[in-house]
């Protein structure tokens, strides 16, 4: 259920990798007109109120609209954020693709806040993917891929280290 308390785990398909390196597998948004029920992106996106137009009569559904619907008989159109500018979203993305790719795959260990400030949510997710590819490669090249390090989850527990405990 959406909004359920602790213990809810959102799982999705992902490529096999080191087991249990992450405890949270985000579910991506759906393709085309599909929505994934468990995808946070899709949940947030479908909350967006957009003016819509009924393309065919949908009788007796005005009750869904609540106040202010008047005599409208229609359901809000569900669209991706990118198409809010009616049709130029596709072209805009193509123009921005190069920038996102180059900056995400070349900025290693730098402050990227200036680069991501002008990207929308889905582009930011893409930027993170590019950064991950770069960081994984650099980490491997330095030989850190075969070193055992404490998981970030465990570090966040704030447990005392063995060396700090009084004998």
């Amino acid at each position: 259920m959406r909004g359920a308390g602790g213990g809810l785990r959102l799982t999705g398909w992902r490529e096999p990798g080191p087991a249990m390196s992450e405890a949270y597998f985000p579910v991506g948004p759906g393709l085309g007109t599909e929505e994934n029920f468990l995808s946070l992106d899709d949940i947030l996106m479908s909350q967006e109120k957009l003016p819509g137009r009924a393309e065919s009569t949908l009788p007796r559904l005005a009750v869904l609209m609540g106040q202010g619907a008047g005599s409208a008989e229609s359901i809000p159109e569900v669209t991706e954020e990118g198409t809010r500018d009616t049709g130029t979203g596709h072209g805009t993305f193509i123009a921005r693709f190069r920038r996102i790719m180059d900056s995400s795959q070349n900025a290693y260990n730098e402050d990227t806040s200036a680069l991501v400030a002008r990207l929308d949510e889905l582009e930011r997710a893409l930027f993170q993917v590019g950064q991950k590819g770069l960081n994984d490669f650099q980490c491997w090249e330095k030989g850190q891929a075969s070193q055992i390090t404490a998981s970030t989850l465990v570090q966040n527990y704030g447990k005392r280290k063995l060396t700090e405990v009084d004998g």
Binding site: T83, S104, Q105, D136
Partner: protein, 185 residues
Amino acid sequence: MEPAEVEFLAEKELVTIVPNFSLDRIHLIGGDLGPFNPGLPVEVPVWLAINLKQRQKCRLIPPEWMDVGKLEEIRDQERKEDTFTPMPSPYYMELTKLLLNYASDNIPRADEIRTLVKDTWDTRMAKLRLSADSFVRQQEAHAKLDNLTLLEINTTGTFLTQALDHMYKLRNNLQPGESSHSQDF
């Protein structure tokens, strides 16, 4: 895939070593190894070569492409051509990293080799991004790139496939539905 997984696959490649011990032929599931005789070169998979080297039981012979002259040629050709040069090994990057980290004392001019391979890698990755950008801008449906290695594909692949998914969603949401009676609200 993780780079470590690609490296795992790379470790199956064969390399020549000169052991300092004796051992009869051993039979493993993947195939036979050996026999090993002191001073006689023998071909083994990289995973074994590295292990033996760490235990000081052998000396590594660098592959014939791991040479300054040859790598300079490859780097220059990569910079000149628009297409990807066929690489001497499908795992050139991984083998360079492994051999130079564990057996640099057996490899002449190791630092220069490391720099040359890194330069070639950078040129190839830049070409790959250029290619991806022109693919996206011209909205092609199909592309074929020869002579790419698994590690190169792995480093940019996830980004490219997600970007293409994103484009697909944007393009499909532009399709208008059938209209009969329309009403604004």
